[in-house]
Each structure stands twice: as structure tokens, then as C-alpha cells.
Symmetry: D4
Amino acid sequence: MPNDAKSQGGSNRLSKDNAAVLMVDHQTGLFQLVRDYIPVTEYKNNVLALSEIALQYKLPTILTTSAESGPNGPLLPEIRAKFPNAPFIPRPGEVNAWDNKEFVKAVKDTGRKKLIIAGIVTDVCVAFPVISALTEGFEVYVIVDASGTFNTAARDAALNRMQAAGAILISWFALACELQRDWRDHGEVLAALLKEHLPEYANLATSHSAASK
Amino acid sequence: MPNDAKSQGGSNRLSKDNAAVLMVDHQTGLFQLVRDYIPVTEYKNNVLALSEIALQYKLPTILTTSAESGPNGPLLPEIRAKFPNAPFIPRPGEVNAWDNKEFVKAVKDTGRKKLIIAGIVTDVCVAFPVISALTEGFEVYVIVDASGTFNTAARDAALNRMQAAGAILISWFALACELQRDWRDHGEVLAALLKEHLPEYANLATSHSAASK
Amino acid sequence: MPNDAKSQGGSNRLSKDNAAVLMVDHQTGLFQLVRDYIPVTEYKNNVLALSEIALQYKLPTILTTSAESGPNGPLLPEIRAKFPNAPFIPRPGEVNAWDNKEFVKAVKDTGRKKLIIAGIVTDVCVAFPVISALTEGFEVYVIVDASGTFNTAARDAALNRMQAAGAILISWFALACELQRDWRDHGEVLAALLKEHLPEYANLATSHSAASK
Amino acid sequence: MPNDAKSQGGSNRLSKDNAAVLMVDHQTGLFQLVRDYIPVTEYKNNVLALSEIALQYKLPTILTTSAESGPNGPLLPEIRAKFPNAPFIPRPGEVNAWDNKEFVKAVKDTGRKKLIIAGIVTDVCVAFPVISALTEGFEVYVIVDASGTFNTAARDAALNRMQAAGAILISWFALACELQRDWRDHGEVLAALLKEHLPEYANLATSHSAASK
Amino acid sequence: MPNDAKSQGGSNRLSKDNAAVLMVDHQTGLFQLVRDYIPVTEYKNNVLALSEIALQYKLPTILTTSAESGPNGPLLPEIRAKFPNAPFIPRPGEVNAWDNKEFVKAVKDTGRKKLIIAGIVTDVCVAFPVISALTEGFEVYVIVDASGTFNTAARDAALNRMQAAGAILISWFALACELQRDWRDHGEVLAALLKEHLPEYANLATSHSAASK
Amino acid sequence: MPNDAKSQGGSNRLSKDNAAVLMVDHQTGLFQLVRDYIPVTEYKNNVLALSEIALQYKLPTILTTSAESGPNGPLLPEIRAKFPNAPFIPRPGEVNAWDNKEFVKAVKDTGRKKLIIAGIVTDVCVAFPVISALTEGFEVYVIVDASGTFNTAARDAALNRMQAAGAILISWFALACELQRDWRDHGEVLAALLKEHLPEYANLATSHSAASK
Amino acid sequence: MPNDAKSQGGSNRLSKDNAAVLMVDHQTGLFQLVRDYIPVTEYKNNVLALSEIALQYKLPTILTTSAESGPNGPLLPEIRAKFPNAPFIPRPGEVNAWDNKEFVKAVKDTGRKKLIIAGIVTDVCVAFPVISALTEGFEVYVIVDASGTFNTAARDAALNRMQAAGAILISWFALACELQRDWRDHGEVLAALLKEHLPEYANLATSHSAASK
Amino acid sequence: MPNDAKSQGGSNRLSKDNAAVLMVDHQTGLFQLVRDYIPVTEYKNNVLALSEIALQYKLPTILTTSAESGPNGPLLPEIRAKFPNAPFIPRPGEVNAWDNKEFVKAVKDTGRKKLIIAGIVTDVCVAFPVISALTEGFEVYVIVDASGTFNTAARDAALNRMQAAGAILISWFALACELQRDWRDHGEVLAALLKEHLPEYANLATSHSAASK
């Protein structure tokens, strides 16, 4: 199974050099469907944190949307703005992004075998390409808190389904730390990220700085 | 395991052509037992949505009930009305529908290897035939939000038991999307379904339509 | 206080003859904001049940919306359809419906002193006119489950604020029963309402009917 | 207000000599509607505990039901069996028990000014007669955990409404202790009650007894 | 894995003839530790339901306790009373019942390969012998709702640990139904069980019986 | 009402000089009944924090217990040890401590008009003397987090009942701060209290101290 | 009572011209104590939204902190930056800001009788000055979601205490709407506020704008 | 998989002689980040209980911290004090403790193959070395209640990830009991531990002792 210890430990660890990020259907209409009990402010923060991680750690990133001109709405403008040059594939009809050849080509063009995925909704727009990618031998990391769906029952079923099929479940904070690996190697990248997206840590830092003066 | 990635991805994907639906014991008395913290309005909506999916995507569908003339009560009239010609097997005493030969024959007559099951209660009327079907080599998709039981502890145990045995856990919305696959292929089917059974999406559509005028 | 026992008991009881219904800002955009932990299916059902009560018990009903052509979206079509002849006041800018003279005139024209209010969001579109109406000597019944807002903290604060100011908090089911008063007086009205909007009761009725045959 | 300290303290305390119990609509059909997040086993236990309190402390008790021959179902048999000689008023149609003259007469015949009420559902079958009784000058104690309704929103609204109107909210355990008042005065009555209906206390007693040997 | 479909389906199904019940440490002191958010009334009911199942379906049953004369307290008297002749092994010090030779001998003397276990606390008194029994080739069914522990975190960890090791998680109701298998084979056994221990079903039966007259 | 702003603000503020503490029935058996969803570790910490506040701010303190030699068990040893010289009134049978003349005399002997009360269980051992004391003109502060009972329904009913009757609801932390009033007046008392009983604050202090070096 | 309808309705409505804002102890150390079940991201957003409201609607605003150089830490830098010219009173030791003469003078210098307060922690830094201000005849609006404390029990007790004493409980969104009053009067102020601090509304606006093109 | 029954049962059971404890990053700053819904008092108690277990059962114990002089803060002083002679490795920058050679050497020097790990935060400081250790063939026990993180979504993802990779999830109480194994073998060690860290058990013991006199 691609989520056993060997596949993700030792020389197989996730790193800046072996992973790509897929942002699937973070559209302003679909955002309204996310109600698995994370407040919207928190959820949007998680999604932007993931985007920023992709950007700062220079991971190849692919954006895709579904039927943007309909009720699903456009991609969250803040995401679009962060990746002016990333492949952006508005799918004309395919529910599963992996059914879109352009998308799969973009993924394969990255040359990366470890895929980091998040999207709306978890049980469809995330789960479907996850299963497809696993079937083709990719290793898949699902960012659980940057994905969302209708309710906790749907979310838990989807996460369990993906894990049983071999996916690895992690948070955006764990992803950032896994990529950073050592604070001595440009730790200011992670520090800036936490300052912006993890206010409890930002508060620790402000207090510490004040006390150290 | 029938819930690994290979079994449900690639050419093995669930589709209108390889699956059948089993509606087990959605009876008006048993409905009163469903208390795993979905309001009844929501739960009934989920059950009807599953029925409508079966109907619209033309999946072979089998209905069964247990001891209808007793406290369990009749099949929900709205379900019965949707499937006037489907096999309907009122079981005279078997708790596990798979112990009823007529039921198993009806399942096998569909010629489908992928079974989609929901029912009341999850830990008995769903879990028992799921285990039996898995034992005989079927692949099983459990619709978690169209199944219900006494409380969350019983539900979680049942879902975990079925997954460990090889079943795949999905929501009715994921099922609909998996069957639809592409919005360009008669997408009005899915659109109508969401309008009726997913009011948050219906609201997106109404707002979009008004704004587009 | 208008919510003491005397004001709502004895000869002062709420009835078909002394009450009017105000539906405030049940718009398809604003619906997306309702996240105080009732699923959307349940919440929409509650809103439609309230509409149906107003209709069936022939209560004067006033509809109002805020900035329909913007993100707030149009009034829920099902509500609009139920009241083709009711006063409908799209407010051009006033947040508090009571600041709109046409709205207040419509309320006063009903000649009713007891107002039944629900809307989106509870802490603004409901609370503001409730306070205003209480100030002018009306008695106000807030339908708690047909009103909704961002989260439970905002909801609880709003309900507490309104109760402290003299409003009475009730559910739509309590309202229906208060208006029906006696099953022998056209009880079929209430029966039909419950069949449509209270599935747990509909199930009791179906089971009972089957057993009685 | 009848729920200020003076009305329920000092010489006005609730006692075996000044209170009557009203059991309203604890019917087997209506029981299915109680879903305000107490498991059914717990809720039924609470209702039986209240019945036993009425019996053991010899409080005048009045039973009433609504439309027993319909979906509401018969009075819970265990309650009926406990009170073979109590006034039992099956109401032919009145939703509010206080609208039934026979019921009000039975209440007034007890000569008690403090009424202890519980029933199904809280926002209708309890709240309506509570408001009516308060209006006529009775003092009312609502047994919150022997009353039940559809969900917590409806329950909280109903309890808040009744308290604002002057009712006092207590648990069945508080009622039992208030009536017992002193363990030296036939404390075996309370002890037996707890043994049967409060298993956590029964376990304390069993452990204590074993350790004391 | 002993919890795959084959091990528990087809001819390997759990039945009256191939299973034994182990009741571990249901002692009155330890009961006070059960706080994984089932009310005590409900939890005690579940434990007694399991005992009654063992009795009615004539499953070999073994009782054991730990340090009864200390704070753990005596076995719940109602359990002790149900099984006057069952092997009862008060362990003098072993935490894991499987470390007690007399207990293991009693288990093996039943000749059954499928073990049904429940106890207090889930993560110790249940999990330890479950792991031990699995190691020796037994198949193990854990009754999740008749086991209890300090909090939900400890419970979930314990259930996950046991399932990963091969145990099957079920509810007492699923156990009863699995043993009953067909209502035509002395269905009155299950009916009586539900009447006593499943009040929501008892209410359905009472309503049905009243309506059928 | 004794809980309006005037009664507790300005010159009527709670202080070291005008208040007394009543610790009611914090007995080791009764502790097992506290299940209103605070973990036991947290609840015990709250009770000891309240004791320490009484001690450090030199408030007259009265201890009482009910039937210590029975299942209720002895007073928590840590409390007893803190107050070797405080009035300690083991009640021989009165449920309501205010029914015990010795207890009332001890209260009145303090000469204080503001009473701070906590105990087990909230709806009985706390609520009863609170109502009695309010009736006699005392002002009462209930420490909500150092009181406990069977479940949240019983707790909420009891807190609402007491507030409606005029009691003031506060936390132990608010009490400590109200008594401390100014950090410049022996602030080390409050600092030591927080270090011991508020670990999140102790962590802030440790971090601050480390950073300041 | 200052929270009855008359005091806050009609000509007494809260407005840009009659209210002042008090931000109490929003310090980076104290932020760590806020755990009444709003995620930190959400809570910080609420606090900044309140600050922005004060700024945009030009309400006189007073900042105060407690023992900044100790573990409580500095005022949240983002708040400090928004109000470079507002009165800022670092209290040297007073727990209750109202005990600081400079603070009270700053409040009175605003000439406003309606005070809007939020702070950390709710039961101390908010509740104490609220009671004091009410005692002196001010009308007080507590922003419930921009205040925070240790847990929900402490929060609920504090909010109930303040409401019983006459305070009005509202959310920051209700405050903004109450001040805006009419969208035609510089509605772009409110629009910008929602875009920044209410992402669910921002998403509605983005979708609407895209659909309208 | 190292978490199957064989790996942890029979002769492979966890014991005082084959396990080592790793305490990772229990630092006073990081403590503020633990918000997965265990109150801080409870969480700190769990961490200290684990430390005490390591101490009393003489398990080799290794302490490590990350960037102590920054916002993360120093190791919780109580932990440091318990292990004056244990290897203590302050990591200069590595996020994953297993990336620190000194740490891995310390682990390997213990000669133990079973590692018991807890830390802050679960999804990073615990999960990363757990995966690494599993990859190198160690067996890993994660103490779920002495580990903590930002929210339940992050926690559940992390625990699921580790279990899927082969880790065993247990509570500190289960660990203590597994190590104690038999009360007759210096049971006073466990008794003292429970008295200090499990107040519900301490209360049982105090009650039992009082009753036995």
C-alpha cells in the first residue's frame, strides 16, 4: 500500500523535489457547500495557506475548475492571483479532473510521483482524482483541512475511502513542516507562513519578541 | 481487498453499466429508529435522493422489506411509488436479506458485480448483506448517508466493520457524480436531481440565474 | 413585559384572528449564510412550513427582501409562489425592514397586534424589526427554527437579546399547533401540514394507517 | 413573577402537601418524536422516575392524552399501570390540555396551587398548559428531563419561553429531593427510587455496601 | 485478517453454535469510570442487554472480575444473578484476563473459536484479552456499546487498535440479530429482548398493537 | 433583583470584606455523579481552585456534607485539609443545607451578606440553599464551574432557575479576579493561584520568564 | 432595564453618533486563553472586524491593556496600528478597567452614553467594566464574538450575568449593520468590511459579479 | 504490519523490559497550540502521567525539544525536573526528531525495539518520527491523550496516518496497565499513579477506604 511506512519514510519522504500540488475546484460557489463544521474564515485560511506553501516551497502547482461560468462560480480570486503562470485547466464537463487529458498531462509533465491534493467537495472533486491517481501508481497526500464538503458524515466516508485505497491524510501545517524539514535552511519561509496563517503561533512570536527586548 | 484503488479505479470504475442498487428495509416503523444525529428531514431527503439516482441513471434496483405487517411498518410510500416494476421482496423472516433466496436471485439476475446498498439499520440490515455479498465476490458501495441506525457508536462500528471487510463508503452525492461523470452527457439529469435534493446547490443556481439575466 | 404569561395566555392567546406573519429576507444568497448547525434541507423545510402555516391558517402575510439584484439574491422562489397577492416590499437600502415606511404601513394595515417573524439573518434582519416593533407596542413571536444566522454564538446572542426585550420564542410546530387549537376544527389542515413537513409524524401516520387496515 | 425566590422559598417551598403532577401526552407514538439528544432509554427512564415520584410521595396526579386512537398512540403502558385510579382524561381534540374543561376541573379539584408538569412535546403539550396555568395564577414547575421534543432549538426556545412567563425549570432528581427534604423522614422512599432510576447512584450504594461488610 | 469478509461470512458466520461470551470487569466501582458520553442509564441497559442475549441464545458465558474487594467493587449484581452457573473467575491480580490460566481454560473449554467480548474499561480490560485471543487464533467480536472507558479519545484509540489487530466491532443489537437470523425460528426470543431493552422498538410494537385491534 | 447592576456594582462590589464561601457536599461518592461534560481532572481542579481562593483571600468558609458514612462518601480529603479550623457541618439528613440550623447559624455568624456557593449536585445541593438564602435577603454568587451535576440539561435548568430567582453566575477565575482587584496589592497571591490551577496561564508565565532572561 | 425594547429602539437606537467602543485587553498572551470553541483564526478575524467597524464608522475608541510587560503580552499589533491616535491606557494593575481613573475619564470624555465593549477574557476583563458602567447609567452592548474566555461554561455564565444586569448581547455583524442602517448611505463602507471579514459574503459577491458580466 | 495481533501479543507484549519512552517537544509555547478539545488541565495531567509512568516503571526515556529559545518556549519544567539524568536533546533546527543524529543514537542506545511516543503537535512532532521509526523497523506506540494538536481534524488525520503506517494507538492509562500487568507485583506503583493522575479512581479509593473502616 502506498501509505505504509516504507513508502513515505526514509528516502521516500515527501520533499520540495518530489511533489506537486493539485488545487481542485476551489470556486466561490462551491465554497458555500463546505459545511463540515469548520467556520468559513478558518477554511478559507487553510486553503490560502496551502496555496502559499505551494508558492513558497516552489512546488509545481496545477489549478483546475469545473463549469466556472455556472453556479459553481469562478476560482477564488486570491488563489488565481498567486499563480499567474501555473497550468490552469477549466474543465468543460468532466467531474473527475483525471478524466480531463489536459489535466493529466499537466500532472505527468511535472515528473513528480507524489501528489498533494485538496479541493471542494472532498467526496467528489478530491476523492475521484485521488482514486484515479492511486490506480496509476502515484502516491497521494490529501490535505484534509483544505478540503471540504457538505457534512461530517460525507467527509469521514470520503477520507476513509481514500485512506483504504492508499492515500495519506495530512494537515496543511504538517505539509509545511515536512517540506521545511529544518529551521536552519531558510526557516524564515516557514516563519512568515505561520505569521500570516497561524495566528496562535503569531501571537506566541509577538509575545516572545516583546519579552526578549 | 475490493476497496483498494485498483478495484474501483481505471476500467473498474463504478458506472451506470456495472452497478445495481439494493434498498433494504426503508420502512416507516424502522425510520423511527434512525437517530445517529441526522435530522429526519435530512435523512428522508437522502433516501429519496438515492432512489431518484437509481431511477434517473437506470440502475437495476431491488427493494426488500422485513415483516411489513408488524411494527416495522410498510416501505416508505414514496420509494414504492418510484419503482412500480422493480423486484420487491418482502422477507417473511430472514434478518439478513442475503438469506432470502429470491433476493439473492434478483441480485444475481442483474448481472452486476458492483452493488450499491443502503438501509435501516446500518449495523444489521445493511451490514449483514454487505458481508455476505463481499464473501461471494461482489464489490459493495455503502451509501453512508442513506443508511441510519440508533446512535453514532453503532453507526461507526458498522461502517468500520464493513470497510475492514472490503466495502467502499460513499455519500449519495458522490454516487450521483460518479454515475454522471461528465456534465456534457445529459447533465440536465444531475441538475434536476440537485435542484430537488440539494437545496444549497439549488440556491446557488437560482442566484446565478437571477444574476445572469 | 409582552412575554409574561398574561400577555400570551387567556384571552390574549395567539390565534388566526389576531396575528400577522412577516417573512424577512429569505433570499437565495442569504440562505448560504445560515450555518447555525441546522442542515440546509432541514432549514429550508422549516421556512416552507412556516409559509404554509401562514397560507393555510389565512394569516395576513408580508414579504420583504433586501437588495435582491445584488449578492443577496432573489426571494426563495417557493415562497414567492405561495403568496402571489401578499404585500411584497423589496427594500431599496434599509437594513431594518421597520425603517421602510411601506413595510410598516403594510404591517399596520393588517390591524394585527401580534406579529410572527422569521428571517435571515437572525441577529440583523429579524432582531432589528423585532426591537422596533416591540418599541411601538406590538407583541412579537420569533420563529426560531425558520430564522438562521452565521453560527450558534450569534444566534444565541440574538435570541437572548430579543427575549430580554420582550419577544416570545417559538418553533414553527408550536405556532401551527397554537393556531390549530383543536383537532376537531378542520384538523385536516394540520394533518396535511405535518404529512408534508414533519416526516417523523408522517411515518407514524403511515404505520398507523397500515396497521389499522 | 412566580419564579422569583420568595415564591419558591421559605414557607412557599414545594412540598408533598402543596403540589400536583400533570403527565401530558406521554404516548407511544409521540415518544418517537423526542430527539432533543437524550437517548430513548434515558428519556423513558426519566419519565418513569417522575411517575414513581408522584406515586411514592402521594402527589395528586392527572393523566391526559391526545387522540389516542390515531398515530399518537396509547399512553405508555407502564405509566397507565402505575395510576389505576388517577383522573385520566383522553382529550378528543384540544391541543392545549387546559382547553379541556374536564382536565382543568381535575386540576382545580386537587386544591393545589403548585403544578408539576412534563410531557411530549415540550413546545406544545407542555408549554401551552404551562402558559395557561400561569395566567390563572398557578405556580408551575416544568420537569425538563421528563419532557422532550424534536430538537434542541425547539426545546431551548420552549424552556426560555416558559421561564420568561414565570415557570420554574427543574430536573426529576431535584423534584425528588425537594419532596424528600430530609433523609431521616422515610428516606427509604428516596433510596428505592434512586436504586431503580439512577444507576450511577445505585452503583455507589452497591460498592459502599460491599466495602462495609 | 480475521475480520475480512471470508472469516465472518458464508459458513463462517457467527451463530449460537460457534460463539462464547466473555463479560470482563463490569464492576460497580469501574462503572463510575465510564464517561465516553453514553449516559449511565443507557450504558447499563446495553450491558444487561448483552447479558440477556447470552442467556437467551444459550451462549457459553464466562464472567471475570478484577480485585472485587477493593475500589473496583463487586460485579454488577444483575449480571451475577443472571448466570448462577457460569464460570466466574475473580482474578487476584492479573490486569489482562488472558494472563489468568483459569480464565483461558474456561474459554478453551467452551470449544468455541468465536469470542464475543465486552467490559470496562475498553482500552484495558477489553483490549488486552482481545489482542491475546487474536494472537492465539481466536476470532473476536467486540461489543462496542457494552464496553466503556474514560473518554472518547481513549475509546476511539482502543477500538482502532483492536480493529487493526483483526477484531470485529459490533453493537449488541447487531449481535442479537446475527444470532436470531430468522424471525420464524422462535422470534419471540428477540421480540422479548427488544421489548425490555430497546424502548423505541417497544413503543413501535405498542402503537402497532393498539392500531391493529 | 439582587443580580441587577446596582446590587453588584459600585460600592456593592464583591470583596474580601463582604463575602463568605459555602462548600456544599463535595464528597468523593457524589463526585462520581458529576457528568455535565467537564472531565473529572478539570472539575476537581476547579473545586480546589475555589478552596484555595477562599483560603488565600481569607474569606470565612463553611464546609458541609450530607450523610458522609453512606454512599455519598467523605468530603474530598484535599478540601478538608485546607480548612482545619473552618466550621464543618456534617448534616444528619437535611438535603437542603439551609434546613440545618447549625449551618444557617454559621453562615449568619460570618456577618457577610454576599454568599459564594458551589457544590454537588448543582440542581439540589447548590440550588436549594441558594433559593433559601435569596429568600432571606442574602446576595448569592454561584461558582458555575466548581459545581456539577448529572448532565447539561439538569445543569442548565438549575442555573437558569437560580438566575431567575436572583443569583449571580460566575466562574472561579472571575471570583479570584474580583477579589484581587488590583495586581499591585499583593498580586503574588493571584499569581501563585494561577500557576497552580490555570496551566495555560502558567505556561504563558514560564515562556515569558524564559524569554526575558 | 437598559436592555428593554424602549432603551434600544425608536429614537434610542444605537448609531454612529451616540456610541463609543472600548477594546479591553486584546493582548497576544491573553489570546492563548480563548478556548470557548471558536478557532483562533475566526476569533482574531472577529476582533479585527470590530476594530475596523470602529474605524470606518468613526466611533470614538478607547484601548486599554493589563500588565503588558508581563505574560499577558502586548496589545495585538494589528489593533494598535489601526488606532494611532486613540486613547490608549495601559493599566498598571487594575483588573477592572473601570477602576482606572484615566480610562473612565476617557470614556466620559467621549460624551457617549452607549458603550460597545469586547475583550479577553469575557468573564473578567469584559464583565467587570460592563457591570461598573451599567451601575453608572451607561447602556452597554457586548460584542459576544469579539470577546473570549476559557470555555463555554465560563462564557455562558458571563454573558448571562451581564444580560441579567442589563447589558445587550450582539455580534460584530449586527453592530456593523446597526451602524450602517441604510445601504444607500455610503454602503461601500459595509461592502468593503464584509469583503475583508466575512468570506462567505465575499464569495457571494464574487459569484454574483462573475454571473452579472 | 507491526500493529497486527502477533506483533503486540504473546511473547511480543509491551513490557518494562522492551520499551523506551520518547517525549517530543512538550514545550510551554507549543502547549498553547493544543486545542483538539481536551481542556489544558486534563492535557497537562495526561502528559505528567506519562512522565510518571516512564519514571516509575524505569523505562529508558529521551527528552527532546525544538528551538527552545524561541516562541516554542522551554520544556515544561515539571517534565524536566522528573528526568535529571535522561538524555535531553534540544534540536537546533530539525523538525523531525529522527533527523537529529544524537536523538536517533540515544534511541538506539536503549536497545529497545518498542518505542512509546507522545508530543506536540501530533501531526508533526509525533507523526514524523513515528513514520521514520517504523521505516527502520521499530514498533511504535503512540500515546494519543498525551499528544495534542490544533483541532480534531488535524488530530484524526494524524492518528489515521500513523495507524495506516503500522503504529499502535493507546491511552496513557492503557500503557500503565500494560506495564503493571499484575497488581500483585508491586501494585502500589500503579495505585500511587492513579491516586495522583486519575481523580475519578482516587475518589473510588477514598470512598472504599472510608466504607471499609
